[in-house]
């Protein structure tokens, strides 16, 4: 005969066991998640003396699959170094793939652990070189 009660009771047992387990919920704004060492968050530009390390080689806008990086180059009148006058990332288009970091030959661009990028206007998501460069 088909046993009706056993599976029903087994189901109840399982839910009761779960009642006494430690919940897996992370109380997010107060409890912080553990972020992995290779986490890909908001970009940052490493600093070299008074400006970012970027040499405006255009490798990152080339490799970027989302086409969210805009770089403009200029020449330093004293040292004759090539540098970026403009390094903008439209973070709304960015897919956080990390290809720009991989492509960078001078280790200028990196990715931080910052993942809380919510903001109020579209303009707030256009990150400029000043905003991205590490503070002194």
């Amino acid at each position: 005969m088909l046993n009706v009660a056993t599976p029903l009771i087994n189901g109840l047992k399982i839910t009761l066991q779960h009642l006494f387990k430690k919940p897996v919920t992370l109380q997010y704004p107060t409890e912080r998640p553990v972020i992995g060492p290779r986490f890909r968050g908001l970009h940052a530009l490493n600093r070299f003396h008074d400006r970012s390390k970027c040499v405006a080689c255009y490798l990152c806008p080339t490799v970027c699959p989302a086409k969210c990086i805009t770089v403009e180059a200029a020449e330093d009148p004293i040292t004759h170094d090539k540098y970026a006058t403009r390094y903008d990332i439209d973070i709304l288009r960015c897919i956080f793939c990390g290809y720009c970091v991989e492509a960078c030959p001078v280790d200028a661009v990196k990715m931080t652990e910052n993942f809380e990028l919510a903001n109020y206007t579209r303009e707030d998501f256009a990150y400029t070189q000043e905003m991205l460069t590490d503070k002194k």
């Binding site: 109840l12 839910t15 009761l16 009642l19 430690k22 919920t25 109380q27």
Partner: protein, 364 residues
Amino acid sequence: MEYEILGLPLWYYIAMVSKVLLVFVWVLLTVAYATYAKRKIIGHMQVRLGPMRTGWHGLLQPIADGLKLFFKEEIIPAEASTFAFLVAPLIALVPAFISFAVIPFGSTLTVGGYKIPLQIAAYADKGGSVIDVNVGVLYILALSSLGVYGIVLAGWASNSKYSLLGGLRASAQMISYELAAGLSLITVFMVSGTLSMQQIVADQAGFGWYAWRNPFLFVAFIIFFICSLAEINRTPFDLPEAETELVSGFCTEYSSMKYAMFFMAEYANMITVCAITVTLFLGGWHGPFTDAMPILSPLYFIAKVYALIFLCMWIRATYPRYRYDQLMGLGWKFFLPITLVLIVGNALWINVVGAGNWLGCLFA
């Protein structure tokens, strides 16, 4: 001679009003915190936390929910039948609350020489014997079937196909399961020989709970509880508001306080059903030391009701919803024949073994 109004002592009126207020407030609070308990219990059963933000461990959540619903916009669909639409939530809510009038929630308290039976529709006459509604169970059965009118009316008045289907399902489900629930109650009446709630509870004194008077009554207890879940549209029988099929069923078009009323009716119904099950099968307010300290009896009653409410939530967290044809099949082809067999078996048992406490006989 003490002061009398319409031939009844003043104490009668004081006791009545305070009993009504106490029970009403208790039911309202339990409704509010049953929603909280449900979210917490189901949350933890799914290894989540449930509400945590409003107050300590989310304890103010029901109040926040109530305020939110109260201040929401009241929407009445243009094509709805306005009067029926407005009156349906009330029809759903009121029977859920007034069923409590005949449920004894404690033994008899003596205050200032006047005996107060802890049951709203009961009083002690001059001789001191407790008089209550002698058809209490019948009254409850009548009201419990009245509650579905609110749902059907809501479904019809909303003028929406989802609401209508929800209402139709509710009525069909109600009729199918009320039969089995009513038949399983007959086994109780066969033992108790009365429909008065006071006497039914009195008969279960000293752990002579009907649930284990005999095996047939035990099965009747389980079937009555399951059928009651189906009658009040709790999971796994919540087809009238099956959100995967019917958006939100009969309350699809409802918003604001009117939706809150359906919600309250659902929870009040759950409390009522648990209270009825406790009264009829689990010894009502009986427990250890109630004779010496009558004040303990409401606590036992409340503890038993809360245990059953926990069972409802446990079931809700465990079982998926029935398919509609399975639901009908379960009611008509499974529960109904079983309850008929139970009645015959119970009758034989009473004639052969007796109506007394079966377990008591074993130990004696």
